[in-house]
Structures are given as C-alpha cells and as structure tokens.
Amino acid sequence: MAQQALLIALFPLVAFVIQALFGKKLPRHGDFVSVLAIFGSFAVATPIFMKLLTQGHVFDTFEVSWMTLPGIEASGRLNSSVNLVVGVLINNITAIMLFMVTLCASLIHLFSVGYMHGEERYHLFFAYISLFSAGMLGLVLSDNLLTFFMCWELMGLCSYLLIGFYYKKPSAINASIKAFMTTRVGDTMFFLGIAGLYYVYGTSNFMAIYKAIQAGVAHDITIAGFPALTLIGFLVMMGTVGKSAQFPLQVWLPDAMEGPTPVSALIHAATMVAAGVFLLIRMFPLLEASHVVLPVVAYVGAITAFLAACIAIVQVDIKKVLAYSTISQLGYMVMGVGVGAFAPGFMHLITHACFKACLFLCSGSVIHSVHTQDMREMGGLKSKMPITFATMFIATLAISGVPGFSGFVSKDRILGGALAYSMEHHGHYLIPLLGFATAGITAFYMFRMIYMTFFGHARDEHKHHHAHEQPLTMTIPLMILAGLSFAIVFAGPTGIESVDHVMPVKWFDQALEGAQQEMGIAEHLSPEAEAVHHQAHGLALMLSLAVAGLGILISSITYLKHLINAEAIKKMVGPLYTLLWNKYYFDELYLGVLIQKGLLNFNRMLAMFDDKVVDRIFVDGWRDVTMVIKSFIGKFDDIVVDRVMVDGTADVTAGGGWIVRQFQTGKVQQYLVLTVMVIIVALFYANLGLK
C-alpha cells in the first residue's frame, strides 16, 4: 500500500515536468495534464481512506536507502557511518490528510480551469500548482523529517512562484519575496531542529523518534548549554510559526493574496499553511517531551488567533478578510495542539481546509464576476450569484461555529480543551479568554463580509449589472466543499443507513485514537481530570454558542439592519482603528527598521570595510613594501656602490639616516607587513640553518 501511495505524489510531479517543458505546445496549454494527474492522486488516495473508514486503522511503511556514507560502525562517534533512509509512512493521520489534500486540490484544479482561462502563462500556472501538489503530498507521505523538509521547502518555492505569478506587478513580487523570506526564517530554525534531532537520536524517522522519546532516550542531553529536547522543540515550533503564519511571523500571509485566487485557496488556506500545523501534529511527542514548549505553543496560537481576528474586522478587501481569518484559524489549531487538544487541533485542520477552500473559491467566483476585491463596491449579489452565495453562506456558518456545521465541532472541542487546560493549570486563563473572544469576533467579521458582499443594495451599479453566476466547472467544486462543511461528515451519525454503514459514527475520533497510541501519546486521564474535562467541555459549549451568537447578532444589527453606524464607531475608536488598519505596524518594524535601517546599512558598512580597510592592508601594504625595497635598493646602488665604493668618500650617516627614515613612516600596515616579511625570512633561514 505504501509503495503504491508514492504514486499520489508522483502523478503531479510528472505533470509538472510535462507542463514545464511542453505545456505551451499542448492543446489547451496542457491544463488537462495537471487536472488528470491530481484526480489520479485522488483516485489512489481514496482506497486508503476507505480502508481507514472500514477497518478503523491503517498502517504501512516503505523505505529506501537514500545516502550511505561509510565510516566506523559505532554510534555516537563523530566518524560513524551515515545511512539516511527515506520512505513513506501511511497511518491514520496520513490517510485523512491524503484524502483531504487530494480532494481539495482536485476541486481547486478544476476551478482554476475556469478561473484562469485566457491568462498569460496559463500552462505555467498549472505547472506550478502541480509541483506544489507534489510537494504537499510528498510531505504528507514522508516518514522522516528530511524529505518532509525538502517537500516543505518545495512548497515554499511554489508559493513564491505563485504569489509572484503576475510578475510585472511590483506589489506581487514584493509579496512573493516577503513570503519566501519570512517563512525561511522559520525554515532555517526548523532545519536546525532537524539537525538537532539527528544529533540526539541519530535518525530523522518519525516512528524511530516516537520510540526513542517513549523510551526516554536523551532526556538529559544538552545542546550549546540548553536542554536538547526543549531547544529542538522550540526550533521545530518556529518552523510552524513561519509556515502557518503565526505571531510574530504572520506578516507574509495577507500580502500573499496577491496571487491568483485559486492559489490562495489551495496554498494559503487549505494545504501549505496547514502543513505547519501538520508538523506540530507529527512532532507532538517531541513537543510533549519538554514541559516548556507546549505552553508557549498554546500562547503563540492564542495570541495569533486574537490579533489576526481583530485586523480582519477593519478589512475591506474580501480576500484580505479571508487571509486574516486564515491566520486566526491557524492560531486556533496551534493553540489546540498547545493545550494538548491534539485530536481537535487536527480535526480543525481538516474542517478548516474544506470550508476555507470553499470560502476562497467563492470569493474568487465573486471577484471573477465583479472584477473587484473591494467589498465596498459589491453588495446585493445574492440574487445574481445564488450558488456562490449559498455555498459561501454555508462555509461562513461553519467558520463562525454555528451548530450543525463542521467548524462548530472542531472549534468547540479546541475551546473546551483550552478551558480544561486553564482549569488544570491555574494561571493560564488568558488562553481560553483569547480563544472565546476570537470566536465571537470571527462570527462578527465573517457575517460582516457576507452582508457587505451579498446583501443590501448594489453600491456599484455598473459592476452589479455585469455580475453573473459562474459555469459549472467553477460552481461544482463550491458545492462539494460546502457539502463537506456540515458537521455530520466528521461527527456523524448521518441518519442515512448506507452511509453510516461505510462511515462509522465518530470515525474521526477512532482514527485519531489509533494514531495517538502509535505515537505513544494516548491520553490516560485520572477520574478527577476526567471530571474537570467534562465540566470544561460543558461550559465551553455554552460559552462558544453564546459568543458566536453575539457576534452574529451585532454583525446583523450593524451591517444588515444598519441600526448601528459602523463609520461612526470607526471614528470613535480612531487610534485603535489606525493600529488595526496598519496591522500593528509589524511591516514597518520588520521592513523599515530591521531590514532597511539595520541589515542594508550593515551590508554597506562591511562592503566598505572590504574596500577601505582589508584592501589597504593586503594590497596597498604590499605596494608600500615593494616601494620601500625598491627605493632601498636604488639608494643602495647610489649610496653604497657609487659613493662608498667608487668615490671612496661617503656620507654614511646620511644614507643610514635615510634608510631608518624609510621604516619610520608611521604607517601601521607597513610595519605589519614588514614584520611578517621578517618572520618569513627568519623562519626560512632557521629551517635551513638547523640542517
């Protein structure tokens, strides 16, 4: 099974090669190659997922030797041999991810055929998203951190290429380089983490790492004075912070919306950014092995979720709203993992991928129709685009945490976990507080978006007039993704007997329990803890319903009924609004202060140092020495040979004085070079002399 699963990543990779080399010459610029490839991947991934549903458990591995470097056969020695083995790991988590990614990617490919129609470099667009899909699927399949990291970076490359797809647009290329560099900050640390794990355990294989952690190996090793596992845990976390746009590296994701909308849906909502969270899921035993890392992860997630949600309130660009909501929701997942709500965190990853892909594609559909991203120019599109409206509304209900929809299930569990965590560890109340506040804000700004886009009157008559519903290739993906936004998909029962037969009730929980056992992190709660959890989850249910309801209510009053004037409030909280509108000034800090004032000036200083100082010593110094020697010999001829020997009368004192003067020029570099010369000559004679 694991061997065949390789095809899942290989199909899109082959499609990339074909597209990159011959895409332009193929009929339809080869879009069918990429689409067929990803559907092929979906076809291979589906049986694996079905097996998980029917049997409740899948596990298989497949390994090949990648690099072998001979050395002494002994572990722990510097010159021990190196054998890097890479391969595929199929377990419950992999199966779910594979199914979700191939499904979303297939639908987005299909949508792109319509959306990107007639674009310049159409074939390259498909080449890039094929390569991207190969990277994402390769990452999911990887059984070790090395290939995981390679695919991780490959996605980073595709993200760079696709954000900058409209490469003539300065804002797009700025965004692309910003995304690549910001994530690379995290990537670099992540790679150091991998190197650290390799140092500690001599392997980068997930299963081997799980086993070693369970066995308690290396809990006392230090790296550069820090406890190794804690340090590595933080380094790995930084990988997630970069890739999943968490605080303080969240700055790149909103700008990444410069890419074509299907790209935003695929990369910056459903898959690549989720890969960061997926890393936390894969490395959870490591994070848990240190007691310091998980709380930090939880705070990072909670702070990100809250800060991003606040910014989303003031956005007027429909894609920017979704971008900030993505950051915010990723924060939820990270927070979930941080508080130990491992399964809910992963579940939110999956549910979010479906409804956020749906939201982005819907926004794409709207943008494609009205040719603007500014919500202030929309309005009243409900009747013009009924399918888009319906699907987007369903997805909005899901993200807002309305009961009966998928987001409610996963978000509620995360919040319950956060509440339980703070009840167990007194003092961490900020985490659930931020979590619940974010839930309310999310409901508010998502409904604000829906109201501004689809309800009310048309604010731009011309654009409204030209608006139209999209063809089926674009709306079918919307409908399928909206269908996946219902709670029953993840937490049955559906009530349909044939479906319930194949897809057991709570299949997700079962699958995750199996995975947790494999990873050695199965929860064994004491009766008291059980009681706390029960209590917390009950309370969380009430609270999350209340805040979501409140958020929707205020949003409806403000943007549907216009009982509250939003503009007046904006003026009332002026400074706060400015702060949010400028995204807390992170860009100014990073770009203006750190890079332009700091880095670039430092670079110029070093380059000057090269020209003015190093060169003075090593080049001009040489020149000075040769000048001295030349004049010395010249004078020697004049003084000694001509005057002393030939004329027989000489002013030796004057000549000697001249020579001494030559050495006393006061130039440090001359002295330095002379000293070196003297040492060299002395050494030479000393060597000869000894023999």
């Binding site: 050395g71 010159n79 300065p170 190197a195 390799y198 140092y199 090593f618």
Partner: protein
C-alpha cells in the same frame, strides 16, 4: 599500464602547442583545436569515473618514478576519492568554458593557448602526489590566469590581475617555505605526500626562532593554511576574489570560481589534514570561526553589491564558508558534505557566471543598480523567458533549495557540524547564512528579472543554442545530484572514512 592521468593532464598542453603553431588568421581552427583538446580528456574522465574503484581509499591510476634523484623528487601522480570529483569538475568546466568562450574575438590564439595551459596546471594540482610536483603545477596555474585576467579582462583588468597575482604569490611563498621545511624535517627527506603523512613525523619537533622553541607542525600548519586560505579565499584574504572575478572574462570567472577556489580546500584536505592531524585538531576551533565568518561576511557583502558579477563573486565567499564549516566538523556527514559542496558549488556558480556572461555579452553592462542610482535591468523575464528559467534553476541551486544540488551538501554540512558538540554554537550562527543566501539572490532576481519591463532592454535577445549547450549539462547535474547525490558521494566515501580515522 596506460598513464591515463598524465595523458589527461598533457593533452591540453599539446593542444596549446598546436594552437601556437596554427595560422594566425584562422580563429575557428584554434577554437576547434581547443574543443578537441578539452573533449578528449573529458572522455577519458568519463572512463575514469566508470572504472574508479569506490571501495578503497588507496591511490589509483598511480604513476610513480624518480624524477630528480638527488633531492628524492618523484614524478608521482594518482587519485583517490578526494581528487576524483575535482578532476571531473575541472574536465567538465574546461570543456564547457571553451565553448562559452566562442565569442572572444581579440587574440583568439593567445587566449585559447593560455586557457589550455591553465587546464594542464589545474589537472596537475589535483593529480600530483609529490609536494614538489604539486607546487610546480600550482605555480603553472598562476601564470596563465594572470594573463587571462590581465589581457582579456574588463576595464580594471590590470589592477585585478596584479592583485590576484600578489595575493597568490604571497601564498606560494609560504607554501614554498613549508615544502622546504617538510623536506628537511622528514626522515628520510622526501616530498612524497603519502610518506609525509606517515608516522606523525612532525609532532614534537621544534624550531628555535628568536629564542623561542616553536612547534614545527603548527608552524607548517599555519603556513600551509594561509597559502591555501588565500585560494579559497578565507576571510581576510578574500579581497582579490571580487576584483578578479569581475574583471575576468566569463569563462575565466567560471574556472576561477568553479575550480581554483576548490584548490584551497582541496589542499587543506590533501595536506593539512593527513600530514598534520594533530595541528589540524589544534586549529579546528579557529577554522570553524573562519568558516562562520566567511559564510556571513560573504553574504552580507553580496547583499550590498550593485554589480551582478560581484554579487555572485561574494556569494562564492559565503558558499566556500560552508566547505570550511563541514571540513572542520570532523564528522562523516560534515566532511562528505564539504567535498560534495565543493563539487556542487562548482556547478551552480559556474551556471551563474555563465548566465551573467550571457547578459553581459548582449548589453555590455551588469549593473543591478547603475552607479547613478537608476535601475540596470528590471522585468526582463518577459523578453527572455528561457534565460530567466535557467537563471532561476542556477539561483535556487545556489541558495540551497531542496531538490537541487546545493541543498544536499549544505544539509550534510549542517547535520555533520551540528553532531559535533564542540561546534554547535557556531553552526547556529552559521545557519544565518542560509537565510541571507536566499535574501541576496532573490532580491537580485527581483530587481533584474521581475517587475515592470525596463524599456531600455525590450529588444533583448533570448539565450541562444550555443549558450544553452554550455548550461544544459550543468543544469542536469544540479537537478540529478539534488535528488540523488550518491553518484558523487560514492566516489569520496571510503577516502574520507579513512581520513577521519586520524581524528577519532
């Protein structure tokens, strides 16, 4: 036995003689002679690659006989896992550079004669196993290089050539001293590198200087190291490099960056490591620090450059820092990674220099930002798509993107260096180079290729077939070795394993 190494070394020399004898008015004849004189050794090199025994660390294809008997100087050629990758790189790049130099119109005869002479020198350095012979080839190499830069170079060619010459000469002097010293201190007196490496003969011996008893092995180590460091170049001996690279004609820059820099690190691995292992361990911390300085200093300076070629030149300084870092880690992964990085940097930087040459041939400038502050290029991706694509491959290989060759070697270097508890802090600092590398390369890419088209260059011609021919083999290597590096790692493994036993 067929003396394959000597044949490979001297065919270019024969080619040079043929060129000197060729009529002056027929440049194409000269070019074709050069093609043959580099293609034949390359073909032999492929045979060498096939028949090289990867399981043994011993010297292979050995040719050994007495040359200057009274001083026990031998003509001793042979290759092991360290030399083979370098030999192959030299052969490949020389061949490609002959094709890349097709556009040279002035003094074709002299140019190609010098170029072939240079190849003989380079081959000799990588094959020689006698210190005297090694030194001879080392000096042979210096001469044509000086003329190639000084005559066929750019505006500041004379300054650049003299600077190159002075630096390298300084290194040569030190090397000469050490060579003589080693001869006198070895028992029996020998220049044979393999014999010098036996029995730790310089440990514990001292020499009296200014009344101090100084340890001979450490003095030798320092002398050799500075000699090689200038070639690498290791900070602060690096300032010849940007000038030489920038002023040299394209093909010569390729050889400089692709092969000559590696001679420094090759020399350290060939001499300092096996002959003076104790001193090497003694200096390991120092090497690590220099490695980190190289990585960061080169990267910072690269970011400040306005000349495309100078940027690539400084990136070489940075990338050679990884080699030092890996070498000084004394771990299996680190040293293998370092030697692989020598090879991979050879291919990826050669690509970048060739590509810069392509654009320079067309517009006769290379400014990212012109001295007056205006944009040198901008948006040329839309007029030269193929060129842009190949540039992207070279660039991403250079910044260490997974799937391309640079990543594997950098990853091995970092995995290795991080496994040595002594050096973990250095590695953490050095890893900043990964970040900076991406920054200066992508920033350059953005300013030159992306954005709105600079109307000045709207008629730019895309890359032609001859240029693609020179780049295609490098492209293939960069991609193949990025996915599966064993074809090169295989060659060096057992040699490095044996070398490392000295340090365990």
């Amino acid at each position: 036995m067929f003396p394959i190494l000597s044949v490979m070394t001297y065919i270019p020399l024969l080619g040079m003689i043929a060129i000197l004898a060729a009529p002056r008015n027929n440049p194409n004849l000269v070019r074709w002679i050069s093609v043959v004189a580099t293609a034949v050794p390359l073909a032999l090199g492929i045979y060498l690659y096939m028949s090289f025994d990867r399981t043994t660390p011993a010297m292979q294809f050995v040719e050994q006989f007495d040359w200057i008997k009274p001083f026990n100087i031998q003509y001793y050629m042979g290759i092991d896992g360290l030399s083979v990758p370098m030999v192959l790189l030299t052969l490949l790049l020389s061949f490609l550079c002959v094709i890349a130099s097709w556009g040279i119109e002035d003094g074709v005869k002299g140019y190609y004669a010098m170029f072939l002479f240079l190849e003989t020198g380079m081959m000799g350095v990588f094959c020689a196993l006698d210190f005297f012979l090694f030194f001879l080839f080392w000096e042979i190499m210096l001469l044509p290089m000086y003329f190639l830069i000084g005559i066929w170079g750019g505006k500041e060619k004379v300054y650049a050539a003299i600077k190159f010459f002075l630096y390298t000469l300084f290194g040569s002097v030190l090397m000469l001293l050490v060579m003589v010293g080693m001869y006198y201190y070895s028992e029996p007196h020998t220049f044979n590198l393999l014999q010098l490496a036996q029995g730790h003969q310089f440990v514990g011996k001292t020499v009296a200087l200014f009344g101090y008893q100084l340890p001979v092995d450490k003095l030798f180590w320092i002398g050799l190291f500075i000699g090689f460091a200038i070639k690498v170049p290791i900070w602060p001996f690096h300032t010849w490099l940007p000038w030489a690279h920038v002023e040299a004609p394209t093909a010569v820059s390729v050889i400089l960056a692709g092969v000559l820099l590696k001679m420094g690190t090759y020399g350290i691995l060939r001499m300092n490591y096996p002959i003076l292992p104790e001193a090497t361990l003694w200096a390991s911390n120092f090497m690590m620090i220099l490695g980190v300085i190289n990585i960061l200093y080169g990267a910072f300076c690269a970011m400040a450059q306005k000349d495309l070629k100078k940027l690539v030149a400084y990136s070489s300084v940075s990338h050679m820092g990884y080699v030092i870092l890996g070498m000084a880690s004394f771990t299996t992964a680190g040293v293998n990674g370092a030697v692989l990085q020598m090879f991979n940097h050879g291919t990826s930087t050669a690509m970048l220099f060739l590509l810069v040459g392509v654009i320079y041939d067309r517009v006769h400038h290379r400014w990212i930002v012109k001295p007056d502050g205006s944009k040198g290029f901008g948006g040329i991706a839309s007029v030269v798509p193929v060129y842009t694509g190949i540039m992207a491959i070279g660039l991403f290989a250079s910044l260490g993107l997974p799937g391309l060759s640079g990543f594997i070697s950098e990853a091995l270097v970092f995995l290795g260096a991080f496994s040595n508890p002594k050096f973990q802090t250095y590695v953490v600092i050095g890893s900043l180079g990964i970040l900076l590398g991406a920054a200066y390369l992508l920033w350059m890419f953005m300013r030159v290729f992306l954005g709105p088209l600079n109307e000045e260059h709207k008629d730019l011609e895309d890359i032609n077939w001859r240029e693609i021919l020179t780049l295609a083999p490098l492209c293939v290597l960069v991609i193949v070795l990025g996915v599966y590096p064993m074809p090169v790692l295989n060659l060096m493994g057992s040699t490095i394993a044996k070398l490392l036993t000295l340090f365990s």
